[in-house]
Structures are given as structure tokens and as C-alpha cells.
Symmetry: C2
Subunit: 384 residues, 2 copies
């Protein structure tokens, strides 16, 4: 497609009580621009991925808000699609660059969640879902618990297998200095953690996080005095499904993921077997199992056992490492930042600069970012 990422960076993810969204955004943007060997003066547009700033902080108009803070001129606006906002912002940047509208776009994903009361955050997050489910008192852990139960019933998936997703992602996170959690956990730890929404326990759930991530997207391979090679975006696909679970035909598949994945593979001219590293949307452990199947890496009903066996774990995997950043579970999930962070991780992996968590011989990477309980899915495929 002739669209490249020439700079990529994230802040540390986690509970960052001392910093504001402005500080997070500046840190991520400055690091991404430095990584690209460029400056704001070469950026014609800023796309901001964010979900909660209006509902929790009363601040909208984040394009202009952060453009002022970062000193980018030109155009700026916010792209919102719940927890998929970051991936959507990159998708929009790809279009803008391909269209010739802007030569170079800075994409910023940012979210500050810990400043607010947990019940306010939980309610605001339900803004990503169906109004009927929200009014009925559903929460996202509850909705994903339903998906987990359906998968268990259909395929015999066990709670221990789901726990193995969290164990793997905490292990990967322990190798990532920017990850929220640096501690190793065991299947037993997960099984003994408090129940959030049966069968999901506390350690099956991604945390509330603060963080920002940024990438510099441009239409030319030409470098401006930087060292790392540009990484090509060879597919960018989006699909949608119903907001509510009640309207879905199946609860054991996220159809938007399947559709976005198929579309992306066609665009890129690759198959799931070509992907060596993937960052998928593990907002809950069951979500990673669904993603592995819906993206075509495993047949329906077979991903949970494979993950349990370590087939997608760094150092054990022979084919595909999943969520080397630690994923949403281990690295943290500042919602608007997540989709951008996934792509930052792929860029580092494909460049070979991922240090202790480097996936060997990864040449093609896939990111998968979901909004709500699967109403939006965004898939990017990157190549070195």
C-alpha cells in the first residue's frame, strides 16, 4: 500500500497518578517523532484515539487540544470507536496518507483512567456497549463472562486454559519495561483470585490504566536522518457487528474479528501461517482465545489448549508469538492508547529492537484491536 511507520513509541502503562493526559501525550509523541528522526514541523495532521476524556473529564475536541500541546500545525481530530479508537485512528491515518491529503500523520492514542472513581470508569466504559445492555446493568466483565461460558459449553474450554492466557501475558509483560505488571503469575494465582463475573476472575481481566502511544505514518520510504528501517503497513481493515450480544448469531465467535481478519489477509496477500508475531485484544483471557480462532490461527475450539501448551509463548513458540508486549492483560489497557501500542510493539519486533522480548525471525506481524464486546474490530498487518 506504500504506507510506512517511521517512528513509534509508548509511555510506560500503568497507574500514573502524577501525570496528566497532556504529559502522557507529549512524552509518547516526542519519543515517536525522535524515533522517526523528524519533528512536528514535518507533520501535517494529528489523529487522536481516545474514548473516555469527554465522559470522565469533560474534555472533548482532543485533536485541537493535543495539537496545541504538541505544537503540530495543520489538521487534527479525534477518532472514536470505544477500545478500538487507537486502531481506528491508524486506519484513518492510512487513508489520509494514501489519498495524498497528508504526507505525514502523527497518530496519538491516549487515555487517563485512574483519576476517576472506579464505578464512574465502569459506567463510562459501558458507553462502548449497547444502551439496552447498559440500562439492564451489564458490565463488560459480565458480557465477556457470557462469551466465556458459551465457549466452555461448546468446546470444553476450561478456566485453567483461560488462566494460561494471563500467565503467558504476565510473563511477556515481565520482559517489557513499559508494562503495567512486572510480576509473574501462575494458573493457581488466577484460579484463586477473586471472582469478578463467573467464570472470569480478577486475573482474567485487563486492568484500568493510564498511558499513551504514538506512531508516525507517512507515504514514503525515504528517511529523514533516522537509523531504523521503515515498517510497511500492508493491510488495514475494519469491520463492525451489533453492539449488543443479544443480536448476534453466535456467542463463540466475534464476527467483526473474522471479517476484518479475512479482509486484511486479502489486502496483504498473506495467510495466518505467514504471521510470526501478533498483538491481539485480550481485554479478558477468553478474548485472546476467541481472537486466535477468529483470526484463523487455530480451528474453533482448539486455541485454548494450544495456548496452554505454550504454542504462543515467547521462547517456546515455533510459529507465532502472541502479545509479546504483555497484551492488554499484562501491559495494561488505557483504552484509546491500546490499538496504537499494539502497532508500536509490532514495529519494535519487526525492527528487531524488542530486546528481551524479541520474537526471533518475525517478518510479518498482525495487530487486532476490538471495541466493546466485538462491535468493532480493526486488523493491521505490518511487514519489515
Amino acid at each position: 500500500m506504500n504506507v510506512y511507520i517511521i517512528g513509534a513509541a509508548t509511555t510506560k502503562f500503568g497507574e500514573q497518578w502524577r501525570v496528566s493526559p497532556r504529559t502522557l501525550a507529549k512524552e509518547a509523541a516526542a519519543a515517536a517523532l525522535r524515533d522517526a528522526g523528524t519533528s512536528v514541523s514535518h507533520v501535517q495532521a494529528l489523529f487522536v484515539g481516545n474514548m473516555l476524556s469527554g465522559m470522565l473529564g469533560g474534555q472533548e475536541h482532543l485533536g485541537a487540544f493535543f495539537a496545541e500541546e504538541l505544537g503540530t500545525g495543520g489538521a487534527a481530530w479525534k477518532v472514536e470507536g470505544a477500545c478500538a479508537s487507537g486502531g481506528l485512528a491508524i486506519h484513518a491515518a492510512v487513508a489520509s496518507v494514501l489519498s495524498g491529503q497528508y504526507e505525514t500523520v502523527l497518530v496519538l492514542g491516549v487515555e487517563k483512567m485512574t483519576d476517576h472513581k472506579p464505578e464512574d470508569v465502569a459506567l463510562a466504559l459501558m458507553g462502548a456497549g449497547s444502551d439496552k445492555e447498559r440500562l439492564a446493568g451489564a458490565t463488560f466483565p459480565g458480557l465477556y463472562a457470557l462469551l466465556a461460558r458459551a465457549h466452555m459449553n461448546a468446546y470444553g474450554t476450561t478456566q485453567e486454559q483461560m488462566a494460561a492466557v494471563a500467565v503467558k501475558n504476565h510473563f511477556h509483560a515481565s520482559l517489557n519495561p513499559n508494562a503495567q505488571f512486572q510480576s509473574l503469575i501462575t494458573v493457581e494465582n488466577v484460579m484463586k483470585s477473586s471472582c469478578v463475573a463467573d467464570p472470569l476472575k480478577l486475573l482474567d481481566c485487563s486492568p484500568i490504566s493510564d498511558g499513551a502511544a504514538a506512531v508516525v505514518v507517512t507515504g514514503t520510504k525515504k528517511q529523514r536522518g533516522k537509523k531504523a528501517p521503515p515498517i510497511e503497513i500492508i493491510a488495514s481493515a475494519v469491520a463492525t457487528d451489533t453492539l449488543g450480544l443479544a443480536q448476534r448469531e453466535s456467542l463463540t465467535e466475534l464476527k467483526a474479528t473474522t471479517e476484518a481478519g479475512e479482509h486484511a489477509y486479502r489486502q496483504a496477500g498473506v495467510s495466518p501461517a505467514d504471521i510470526g508475531v501478533a498483538e491481539v485484544h485480550d481485554c479478558f483471557t477468553i478474548a485472546e482465545i476467541l481472537a486466535m480462532e477468529d483470526l484463523g490461527f487455530y480451528k474453533k475450539g482448539s486455541a485454548a489448549a494450544a495456548i496452554s501448551r505454550g504454542e504462543t509463548t515467547l521462547g517456546k513458540s515455533k510459529r507465532l508469538v502472541v502479545n509479546p508486549s504483555g497484551g492488554l492483560k499484562g501491559c495494561g489497557h488505557p483504552v484509546g492508547a491500546t490499538g496504537v501500542k499494539q502497532v508500536v510493539e509490532l514495529v519494535e519486533q519487526l525492527r528487531g529492537s524488542a530486546d528481551k522480548r524479541q520474537v526471533q525471525k518475525a517478518r510479518i506481524g498482525l495487530s487486532h484491536n476490538v471495541g466493546g464486546s466485538g462491535a468493532t474490530a480493526v486488523v493491521h498487518i505490518l511487514k519489515k
Copy 2:
């Protein structure tokens, strides 16, 4: 640019107590698709322009929300830039179509404001502005009052001249069956209306409104069995400025408008003298005066007198009619819908189907959509 609008429609704007955002969106989208002679099955993406749904209604993820409601498949997301959200959504659609990402995009601008307490709406609207100004208690009427005062001091602009903007736009609105206000007003009415933020009076201010507008944007002139000719988008430009007024060099110019305008004229290869009809962002009467100058239609300090003389009034104008829809002041201002409605009005004018408010011989039209107190400006130029 080879981007065309093949369908365009708005709902009635105003206080629509009996209808939901869903109903408004469905009505506008169905009418735009009917106007295009096409159906949702030919739409690959839905871009939603909206500002307040999250803050006032707790509902985000509006791309998927309305995609479900309208039955559009494919991609969907929200574009937000305060009161410029609608214009920005069209700008994003232009990029997507030009890039080849999507062949046909449905752009929906929608806002439901009257269901909420006025003080909640006023506070939520300040989410478009600087957090410092918001915390200091500023409101948008207050900020635009400052701009009005600066213009009066610099150029001798009078309150009666500002009132003339409202009189003109109410006259135009009285010819538009979809406009919120159908009543003619006089300069005296405006001058005697209650003071909101000196020197701005009630009738200098655009109202709180409900409404939706939709356009179908596509990359081919080929028609699918429709009658009206496609209207070409020959420029689409965005510029940003600081959110707060305190950081600006000048209070008598909205720099983002000037920059977006200049960029759009260059793209289109036209000059202000070529524009026969314009829809500009008259959230307050002073805003239309600023727009006329910043877009190059009048020299600084001379627009107010010209508007007063009727130079931009339907039936009197020899060169350029401004806000034939009634503008934000007369037609109403459901914030996320406004930028789309402006383009719908231009499409009708350029097609020659604007009925009683038809501008004679209009061949090129310009729309100008502003976010906040000038932090974002979006300019589109359309040609029949």
C-alpha cells in the same frame, strides 16, 4: 479530486422531543440514500459526526451504534472535533474515498441536545474549549462576546450590524421548511432581546437543537439510477488553532478559518470571487462577520456593513448569498449535524433544487464549519 456527493438530506432541525437519536439518524440516512438512488448494501463505511452523545447520554461507539441501526456493513467510526465534527467527518470520508479504502461512504451528522438540562448542555459544550477557560467559568457566549468586543473596538462594528446577521438568517430560515425558526425578526427584536453575554443578546446566539444530516460520498460520477447530477467536492481543508483565546495573537480573526480557506482555494483553483453561495459557521452573529472576512469575501472591518446593506441576502445579493439554509442561527445548530447540513444545503443549491431559497446561478459553493471558538475550521468547496 474525483470525489462526489450523490445523495444528501437533513431531518427537520429544532426541538424534537418525541424522537430519539436513532430515529433522527435513520430518517436522514434513509433520505440521503434514497436521494442517491442507492441503498446501504452499496455503502462500505459509515462515518458519524457527533460531539455530545458521550458526555450527555453516556453513549459512545457511535459508529457501531448507528451501523447496527442503519444496517450498514463494513467499517464505522465516530469523528469528533466539537462543533466541527460534521465537517471533519466529510473530510475523513473524502480521504477514505480518494485512498481507495472505501468506494462509497455514508457520512452522518447527528446530535440530540434538548433532552438534557440546559446547564448540563452548556457545560458539555465547554468540552469543546480550553480546560483553563472552562474551569474559569467561561461559556461560549462569553468567549464570542470577547471576540465581538474586540471587533467593535478595532473596526467600529456595531451591535445593529451584528443584529442584521440574525435578521438575514431568520429570513432565509423562513424559506426553509427544515429550519428550526420560521419567524422573521427585525434588528429591533434582536436589540431588545435579553442580554446573554454583553454585547451578545439572545437573538445573536444560535439555538440548542436536535437534528441529523447525511451525505453519500463516492469516487465515481456513475449513477445508480438516480436523477440529480453528482456534485463534486473540489476542496476539503482543515486547520487548527489554540483552544483558548488567551493564546491567540489576534482576537479579530479566526486564524484556523483563514488557513483552511486559503488551503481550500488553492486545492480548488478558485478565489473567493468565484463562490456564489456559502454556508458559514454563524454560531453567534459576530462569527458570521469574522467568517466573511477570514474567508476573503470582505476586507477586515468591512463585512458587517456589507451584510447590513443586504449584500449577502437572498434576492438582494448580486454576488454571494450567505447561509441560505438559515445558518446555525436560523436553521438550528445540532452540533455534530451542522457541518453535514451545510454541505447538504450546498448540494441542493448547486443542483438547483433549493426551492424558495434557491440562489440564482450558483455554480460553486463553500461551507465553513468551526469547532470551539475557532480551534478547528473545516472548509469544503463544491462544484456542480
